[in-house]
Symmetry: C2
Subunit: 307 residues, 2 copies
């Protein structure tokens, strides 16, 4: 099976899991659940749950208790998109070619839909405790419970103010107060806003499968390299990209006076760093001595993409 076929298959599985854990709208609270469903079913690529499951498989993980975590990380991603798109932050009207949640449901319901998804992500991840296989004896079950607890802590550490939310906070604060975007702040934002949840996906997949701590650390660094390379590539494509392939206007960053990796370091250094980080991520995976072909292809497809 070729890479893109395998990716489609894994994304379809993630989609199925996500549907299973997305509540159906009903009752007086139904309107917010409609907004949740609208956002979740907007056709993302489900990269984070795909990465999580691929690592889980790579370490021989077995059992359905990975599934609530797959849904949870996608809920976290979706809540962040809904809130980022609000007029109070980026004020984006379209995402993935569809109207954003607040445009359809209003700012109040969209804010609550984001809150609902974040709360739902905890509630859902906690369901992993119900899916711990019963055939491992008391000691085996307690060991799996400890893995779930560890994975919960990693996921919500990376989602919170020490991770994704910290990156978003630094970004919004700089924009709203007109603070200078220097190299340190930009790296902090790239590292946290994008990389933190990719790190969480790689780490939780490993932890749930019982991977050793040393490997979890290597995967965290892999996620960091990948996330930063992905963001640098984003900044590069806004300068060198093909509008037709990208499906969006090129040059908008410089037109908006936006400070990016390219404006701070120049195109040549940006391309060099993106290549280095991408290679570093792949080399880290190689060092684990596992069958990581799919993950390597996936990471390369993110960091070396043309669109």
């Amino acid at each position: 099976m070729g890479f893109s076929e395998e990716l489609s298959k894994k994304a379809a599985f993630a989609e199925e899991v996500l549907k299973k854990y997305t509540p159906s709208p009903s009752g007086f609270e139904g309107r917010v659940l409609e907004a949740v469903e609208y956002s979740v079913s907007a056709g993302g690529k489900h990269l984070r749950p795909v990465i999580m499951k691929a690592v889980f498989d790579m370490y021989g993980g077995e059992g359905e208790y990975i599934e609530p975590f797959m849904a949870a990380i996608e809920f976290i991603h979706n809540y962040s998109l809904i809130h980022d798109d609000l007029p109070a932050m980026d004020n984006d009207m379209y995402r993935r070619g569809k109207k954003t949640t607040h445009v359809v449901y209003g700012d109040g319901i969209a804010t609550l839909a984001g809150d609902c998804l974040l709360n739902l992500s905890f509630e859902t991840a906690m369901k992993a405790f119900d899916l711990i296989p019963g055939d491992n004896g008391e000691t085996g079950r307690n060991a799996l419970k400890d893995r779930v607890i560890k994975a919960l802590r990693i996921l919500f550490d990376k989602a919170g103010i020490n991770g994704m939310l910290g990156g978003q906070s630094a970004d919004v604060d700089a924009e709203k107060r007109g603070l200078e975007m220097d190299k340190d702040r930009l790296m902090y934002i790239h590292e946290n806003k994008t990389a933190a949840l990719i790190e969480a996906a790689l780490m939780t997949g490993a932890v749930l499968a019982g991977a050793p701590d040393g490997d979890v650390k290597v995967l965290e660094e892999t996620g960091s390299d990948t996330g930063i390379a992905f963001q640098i590539k984003d900044d590069i494509l806004d300068v060198t990209g093909d509008e037709e392939k990208l499906g969006k206007h090129v040059g908008s960053d410089s037109e908006n006076g936006k400070v990016t990796y390219v404006t701070l370091f120049g195109l040549e250094k940006a391309e060099e760093d993106q290549r280095k980080l991408s290679l570093s991520a792949v080399n880290r995976l190689t060092s684990l001595n596992k069958d990581s072909e799919f993950l390597k292809d996936l990471i390369s497809s993110l960091t070396d993409r043309e669109s």
Copy 2:
């Protein structure tokens, strides 16, 4: 020690716990943490952590692992206040005599501060696992871990779309779409928006102390009675209250054409139901055969207050 002295003492302890778990602002994400600190230190009464700890003590609970839960429930309460006050929802400029978070920090940072508090509530409650006493042997520790897991599930179920968030969703949806506020919707809102977190406080305090399931169920019903009685009293005071004692304008509900328990059922029935529910809550506590004097006084002070 009289009731009000005991309440002050317990509230001061809750305040101390809260301070211990509130992160100090620093770094690029510092602005959002300043907004978090501003909201948390605005001088609430810390009723939910006080209730939680009182139940824990009532069941002979021992150990510090209750403390992260005390902070977590107050973080949840504060996140809900910050988001409710946003222009996208109630657009309130003042709370507890201070400017609301979004007035001071802007809507974007306030939205992120709410998100931060919700995520932080989960991160903080998870710290209970670190505080499980080590002197109970492996079996004892695993039993306490199971209590923490159970309490986590209750807390975030009651905070989410099946609890507080559901109530807020029904309220905001009715207002934004101009839906009719009938008895069923109003009861749903009172039950969930206010009562759910009081239920959570009572239930988690009991679960963490190892109370039997039957008692936890009675405490859930106690919280429901208390929360609804509290809300009905709120509606009553807006008609009959003493402006001086309340420290706010009376009659604003009817001036704003707001549908309340009093407008739907009449003042007499509202007062009757509030008394019945208040008595029911106290009787439920009596039925537990524990030393519940403080909790009874506290509940009566909420449901029978004059301000």
